[in-house]
């Protein structure tokens, strides 16, 4: 029993410890640093695997101690937590491999990998947090540990982006804190629980609870890049590619979206939230963000900025799923948490590969890159089609479930939003794919070669793995342990029997 409670703690500690060791390593101890990084990542994957198995068998991994009078520090692993934890553990492993290759020979790597590990530890904490207080603890830790990554290059542009990032996220954190403290004043220290905790509150608390919901969503919406709080995200693109990948697919943006999901399902409870009537505005906001992000992505000539706006749009699918009442809609939103992660990380890995190998930053420079870098471009194409929602890829599963979930409860406008968004997705991704494969080669100013491979092998494998995951998640969606079936498991536990 005791060991069970300690597993979440170990999952947190293994990357914190890695961070502590890496910070003290001198810059030139590259091999040792890589070994520690990979070891910590592997251990984390193993621990998360154990916990996932346990959660499936209804084991309880809980840990709670009073950190301050009246509030507790709570870690707990439930099905939803394991979804996010699993995503971050697996993608961290891949991103670490990628980052080692990406940053080879560049300065300040001890600093980079130290904060990188801290960042993942925070993500793990967010996943396993058992109440809002604990969630907030790790949420702010994430902000702090990502700042050095965003400004890693130390240029004026990076520092400006970093300042904006901090301004947005800390203000969001303040709003979140206000919401949490208000909620605590209303109902005391409550932990996350499937089907929610607030069903039975007094009638006259409904209005304050609505306002609290607004504050919480505003605070979380900053990281989730909900319109109009998304301004920091495109600027943060100055960060190195692995950081962008992590920020968009796993850590920051997902932390916000995950937080909203937590608040809707495990704090308020989907039924109570519907009763309060707060979900409808949230849904509209998400829908608007989806369309807005896609429209803005159309006009971006910088590849990474285009991907950034695409993230703004795609993450809101998760929020939209949370706003749609009914199990099927829930599944659609939740499954996108994973699907968007693996698809978007593939795209960023590829973008990084183009930049590293051929110095490509603009969309028009991609002309003909497919022949020069076929494997990378294949991965990119696969992920882009996934984003558009082409069957049988992961994105299709999302959109299909989300759409049918909305239809079940009579929200036809959601289907319309999905259709518009898919068309817009196609409109900004298809030209890129066209350029990759069918246009003649651009005159690249610089080209690097690594032996027979089209690029450094540590840069090549991660996108290939994630791209194939995109395919597999779509093809085998009905098998156990696929993202879809895990999301269904969560949804089954979230609705009142």
């Amino acid at each position: 029993m005791m060991q069970q409670a300690l597993i979440p703690v170990f999952a947190l500690l293994c990357s914190m410890l890695a961070a502590a060791i890496i910070f003290t390593l001198p810059e030139e101890r590259q091999r040792l640093r890589t070994v520690i990084n990979l070891l910590a990542a592997l251990i984390k994957v193993a621990l998360v695997g154990v916990m996932t198995w346990g959660v499936l068998n209804e084991r309880d991994y809980g840990l709670s101690y009073e950190i301050l009078p009246g509030v507790s520090f709570v870690l707990q692993a439930d099905a939803l937590a394991m979804m996010f934890a699993g995503l971050s553990a697996v993608l961290w492993l891949l991103t670490t491999i990628y980052a080692v290759g990406y940053l080879e020979g560049s300065p300040n790597r001890s600093r980079f990998f130290g904060f990188f590990s801290l960042c993942v530890a925070s993500t793990m904490g967010i996943a396993l947090a058992g109440n809002l207080f604990t969630f907030f603890l790790f949420y702010e830790m994430l902000t702090l540990s990502t700042y050095p990554l965003v400004v890693h290059r130390g240029t004026d542009k990076a520092l400006r982006a970093g300042r904006n990032y901090i301004m947005y996220t800390l203000s969001g954190g303040a709003a979140l804190l206000l919401g949490i403290i208000w909620l605590q004043g209303l109902v005391g220290d409550i932990s996350f629980q499937e089907t929610g905790q607030l069903k039975d509150v007094d009638e006259n608390l409904h209005l304050p609870l609505m306002l609290v919901f607004g504050l919480l969503v505003a605070g979380l919406g900053v990281k989730a890049a909900l319109f109009p709080l998304h301004g920091w995200l495109p600027q943060a693109m100055v960060a190195p590619a692995p950081v962008s990948a992590l920020l968009h697919a796993v850590a920051v943006v997902k932390a916000g979206a995950f937080g909203i999901v937590r608040v809707v399902y495990d704090l308020y409870g989907i039924e109570f939230a519907t009763l309060l009537g707060v979900l409808e505005p949230l849904g509209w906001l998400a829908a608007f963000t989806i369309v807005y992000g896609s429209v803005r992505a159309l006009s971006q000539s910088d590849l990474k900025r285009r991907l950034a706006y695409s993230t703004v749009s795609q993450v809101s699918y998760i929020v939209l799923g949370a706003a749609v009442f009914g199990p099927v809609g829930t599944v659609g939103g939740l499954v996108h948490l994973l699907h968007q992660g693996i698809m978007k990380i593939t795209l960023f890995f590829c973008a990084g590969n183009y930049a590293e190998t051929l110095g490509i930053h603009k969309v028009q420079e991609l002309n003909g890159a497919g022949r020069r870098m076929p494997l990378t471009s294949a991965a990119f194409t696969l992920a882009a089609f996934g984003m558009i929602g082409a069957p049988p890829l992961a994105g299709f599963v999302t959109k299909w479930t989300l759409g049918s979930g909305a239809l079940n409860v009579g929200m036809e406008w959601v289907v319309a939003v999905l259709l518009i968004s898919s068309m817009l997705n196609a409109a900004y991704f298809l030209p890129v794919i066209h350029r990759l494969w069918f246009l003649s080669e651009y005159e690249w100013s610089y080209q690097r070669r690594w032996g027979r491979l089209e690029t450094h092998s540590w840069l090549l494998w991660p996108p290939l793995v994630t791209a194939s995951l995109t395919l597999l998640a779509g093809l085998f969606a009905v098998l156990p342990f696929s993202p879809l079936s895990w999301a269904e498991l969560i949804a089954a536990r979230e609705y009142l029997p």
């Binding site: 810059e27 950190i67 009246g70 702010e140 830790m141 400004v151 130390g154 800390l170 303040a174 605590q184």
Partner: protein
């Protein structure tokens, strides 16, 4: 047992001051290591004693109050004694390697340091209003001496300004004490507290209370009486600045809080409490804003003290006319704020000193590219900054959380706005430093790695300030240790 411990707390700092005056800097340093160890043992011993046998009154010279002087030892006192030991040792260790031992005036550092420590111990335990005054003066004069030690004109100017302000503050406090004595005929705070509750003329104590609070607020550098603090804390040597910001300003605040909680709440009025809170709130905003504008690193840290002190004064509105549980939360929050600010600010000043040593300049822009060298001190500075911003997981956050809870429960929502806004403003100046250190410059910059021991001292204090955040309940449990009335 208690005799030995009390003698250890009262006697050893004074004895060390005396002996180290007869020695040179290096021998004084060696002696001081021993003294720090002893203080650590004694304060831990006292903690153990109070935990098992409860707090007690200790009558000095064998004469009971009100004729004699009475010291009060309870959980809160033990908390502060432990904090003092931790912070003062950290600063002392840093100073031992930071100051240049061969300057003739440095031999006076250790005596002044130990006199300061003796004054702090006296103030934490003091139960006699006049004795508190003497303790305060002991602290003030040794602090001024430390600021001025061997200094140039700028340091002397700061020291003089500090001296004048602090003396005026002490005298205002003493005037309040004189009025209290005229009214109640006793100097023992416990007696005054008892009489205030039964006397029909208790409200006549108001002018005395106001005078004491104003005087102590001046010594604590509450806005708008803060003008003396930034020059003094900015110009002193870094370990001295650390001591001043971390402990010295807390001593006068501590007295104000004790007077307020034991006697003040019974006679004060709502507008007094709110006014003090408002001044604190303005200090938070104004101090943070000025910190943001400072071109020199240590001035940034010094102005941040002005802002952080503002938080302390939220104690007054949050404990006046509220339920006991809310008042308790507020007191716990303020205690955590005192502790975490002491640790974080000491760490920050020490780290700032190391950084200045490393880059050879006190200017913020000179930090460009420092993070490249991965100095420990920058990391310590950063961790301390986390606590000052009130972000988790740090003591500053724990304190903020408790204060937010108290404001929420007492319905004084306006302090919530102040707390949230203050956090953002402090983030602005802390991130300004981070930003400066991350900037990459092309030219080759000069960088010296300071002595490892200097860096470790700063790091340990910074880690301790984070530790308070993850063990808030444990820290507060020391404060809640039982007190048994011996009478």
């Amino acid at each position: 047992m208690s005799n030995w411990l009390m003698a250890g707390l009262l006697f050893t700092p004074l004895a060390l001051a005396t002996v180290s005056l007869l020695l040179g800097f290096r021998q004084g340093r060696a002696l001081s290591w021993l003294g720090m160890l002893l203080q650590l043992l004694v304060s831990v011993g006292l903690w153990w004693l109070v935990r098992h046998e409860g707090g007690f009154y200790y009558t000095l010279a064998g004469w009971d109050a009100p004729l004699g002087i009475e010291l009060r030892v309870d959980g809160l006192v033990v908390t502060f004694l432990l904090l003092t030991t931790l912070v003062a040792s950290g600063c002392g260790i840093h100073a031992g390697f930071y100051l240049e031992p061969d300057r003739p005036w440095q031999r006076y550092f250790w005596p002044l340091y130990w006199f300061l420590w003796a004054g702090l111990n006296t103030v934490w335990m003091g139960g006699d209003l006049f004795n508190l005054y003497v303790g305060l003066e002991l602290i003030t004069l040794s602090a001024v001496g430390l600021v001025a030690l061997g200094g140039q004109a700028e340091a002397l100017r700061a020291a003089l300004r500090y001296l004048l302000a602090a003396l005026l503050g002490s005298l205002a406090y003493l005037l309040g004490v004189a009025l209290v004595y005229g009214q109640f005929g006793t100097l023992s705070l416990a007696d005054v507290a008892g009489q205030v509750r039964v006397s029909e003329h208790a409200l006549l104590m108001r002018p005395a209370l106001v005078l004491m609070l104003v005087g102590l607020a001046l010594k604590t550098a509450l806005f708008p009486l803060h003008g003396w603090l930034p020059p003094a804390h900015g110009i002193a040597k870094s370990p001295v600045s650390a001591l001043l910001s971390a402990l010295v300003v807390k001593a006068s605040f501590y007295i104000a809080a004790r007077v307020w909680l034991e006697a003040g709440v019974a006679v004060a009025s709502q507008w007094m409490a709110q006014l003090l809170g408002v001044l604190g709130a303005v200090a938070i905003i104004w101090g943070s804003w000025l910190a943001l504008c400072q071109p020199r690193l240590k001035q940034v840290v010094a102005y941040s003290s002005v802002a952080q002190i503002g938080y302390l004064f939220l104690l007054f509105p949050l404990t006046f006319g509220v339920e006991a549980s809310v008042s308790l939360h507020a007191q716990q929050g303020i205690t955590l704020q005192v502790i975490s600010h002491a640790l974080a600010k000491a760490a920050m000043f020490l780290a700032a000193g190391n950084l200045i040593l490393a880059v050879g300049s006190n200017r913020v822009e000179a930090l460009a590219g420092v993070s490249h060298f991965l100095p420990f001190s920058l990391f310590s500075f950063g961790l301390a900054g986390v606590s000052l911003m009130g972000l988790p997981p740090s003591g500053g956050f724990a304190a903020k959380w408790m204060l937010l809870q108290a404001s929420m429960a007492s319905g004084q929502w306006w302090w919530i706005m102040v707390l949230a806004g203050g956090g953002l403003l402090s983030a602005a100046y802390v991130f300004r430093i981070y930003k400066a250190s991350f900037l990459e410059r092309d030219e080759q910059d000069h960088f010296y790695h300071p002595d490892r021991r200097l860096e470790v001292a700063a790091m340990l204090l910074a880690l301790a300030s984070l530790g308070v955040g993850v063990s808030g309940s444990q820290v507060l449990s020391v404060m809640a240790m039982p007190f048994e009335e011996v009478q």
